[in-house]
Symmetry: C2
Subunit: 334 residues, 2 copies
């Protein structure tokens, strides 16, 4: 038995309730109301110390990120997040860790109106599993399989920042920060992208009825766009000059490395989506209202696979060196 | 990255589909249809090696049990199970383990018509988290908080078998069995109760509209009945002579030990429920149709806490020695 209860700690912090939670934490299961005319959207994701995050990662960042990666999956479906269940496995009773974990978790949950409705706390090697539940208007979900030849390919935000931050952390031999301290790297913007990814929930909602296919970029753009191509039975071309990279990334690495991170870095949690090119103006104005960049980075064609094209439109056969990233194993509901 | 995919292995084995799965494994999230007029019921539970099960436990038993403990929570709500998400963390790629795990998981899932709709496979210390989702007619869920003074207390099946099996395993210095081998203890019935608990799904469904409160016995009868009392604002008395214990348990331990296991042994996964005494005949005939024992073991009164009474109706102050069981940490949605 643990001598503390994370679930209680989070419940105490998450003051407000949702009207659609008929019964929350404290019984054998939660009772939830799915509105008529909507479908339930469900995903789960596990983060293990040393695999998905560096040992010593700040507890508040883990709390945030464990929910963020799941909300990102809901966002990729165009869903409205509603509820979450949380299983935390901790090596030893550590009330401080739990408090800080709860702080990060609740901060993101509150930002998206998500209610924690169940979970458990277990003793064992550090690991976090979150299940996120949301809803979407019937038939309105975004899926991977809808991309069609002729569609344009878009991506939100910027790519590669998180992978670059991880590289900096590893190269510095750091990879930890004590709670409340400043990040040990001179690129706090990059570090923030790694430790506090912002799930593109509003973007996903905006794309309902607009995007033909959508996925969140968790394994890297090339890998995730390849999932879309496989599911849709199409091929994609990506214009390397069109990849959106941040000023912070460009300041920290040379252009070749930046492109490597942008193409193959994991943990971006941006949305990659496809849409008919004639909807480009509509998409541009919708994202302007959101205050989020949406870059057109390529096109869908017939065939299979993803090709990267240089400025002259010639395929780039080999990836730049140095794009290796921290391996994340996300299978199944990835 | 893992070199195998458990989720695919299970998907391949689980041939049939549910009509209410609009989109299953393979996208960012699953899309599910909750029927009109029903509430969603959600719970999650984690099992960690060395905490919730002995190292070396057969993979097929882990597959079964990781789902069973969650279906038991749904059963305690009177829910109809529908879908599950599974996160498996495994130290190393082991296709044999995965196959056997999938076998046990699918066997139980098929028995209850549960569809696996998401999950992931991760490398790390052995741990399993399952989220189970079901539905219940609106307002029909069983809860912990409905027990009223004057209600009778019932329990399904028999108590203490799993805890006794665990004791035998530990005393024997065993605690492992290779797949396909016979259990190493001479009490296969007890061992089966520990390794393959049967969630009382049909019993929970039968109790809708009948029981005033319900909980599954996972932490031990006394602990779980105390949860009901706390949630309901009542007290309970348990007649020690009325506790249902199996012939297998009586054959393996003396009476005092049997009662200790029955009162405080964990991992029973029976249902403990309360109902007005005048519904006793109705309950008896309903359980006869189910082919499951339902024993009346006590009564609800005013006040707080759980008292155990001997044959003369006198409170037993101290628990029998030797009832310590394998600690299971189940908090939050327990």
């Amino acid at each position: 038995m643990m001598e503390f209860d994370l679930i209680d700690a989070i419940r105490a912090r998450a003051g407000r309730r949702r009207g659609d939670v008929a019964l929350g934490i404290g019984d054998d299961a939660a009772l939830l109301e799915v509105p008529a005319g909507r479908q339930l959207v469900a995903c789960t994701d596990t983060m293990v110390a040393g695999v998905h995050f560096l040992a010593g990662t700040a507890a508040e960042d883990l709390g945030w990120k464990s929910l963020a990666v799941n909300l990102s999956d809901l966002a990729a479906m165009g869903a409205d997040p509603a509820w979450a269940l949380l299983s935390l496995t901790l090596p030893e009773a550590d009330g401080g860790f739990v408090d800080r974990f709860a702080e990060g978790f609740v901060e993101l949950a509150a930002a998206h109106g998500v209610a924690l409705v169940g979970g458990d706390t277990t003793q064992g090697p550090l690991s976090i599993t979150v299940t996120a539940l949301g809803t979407v208007p019937h038939g309105g979900a975004l899926m991977r399989g809808g991309a069609r030849a002729g569609d344009a390919v878009f991506v939100t935000g910027t790519l590669g920042d998180a992978a670059a931050a991880l590289r900096l952390l590893r190269d510095s031999g750091l990879g930890t920060r004590a709670s409340g301290e400043q990040p040990p790297v001179p690129q706090p913007i990059l570090f923030e992208r790694l430790s506090r990814p912002k799930p593109r929930v509003a973007a996903g909602q905006t794309l309902r009825g607009v995007a033909s296919a959508c996925i969140d970029v968790s394994d890297g753009l090339l890998a995730d766009l390849a999932h879309v191509c496989r599911a849709s039975g199409v091929a994609a071309e990506v214009d390397i000059e069109a990849l959106p990279v941040s000023a912070a990334l460009l300041a920290a690495f040379d252009k070749v490395a930046c492109r490597g991170f942008a193409l193959s870095g994991g943990d971006d949690y941006e949305l990659c989506f496809t849409a008919p090119p004639e909807r480009g103006a509509e998409i541009a104005s919708a994202f302007e209202r959101l205050g989020l960049r949406a870059s057109r980075i390529g096109r869908i064609g017939t065939g299979e696979g993803v090709r990267v094209l240089d400025a002259e439109g010639n395929p780039i056969d080999t990836l730049p060196a140095g794009w290796q990233h921290f391996a994340t194993s996300r299978a199944g509901s990835e």
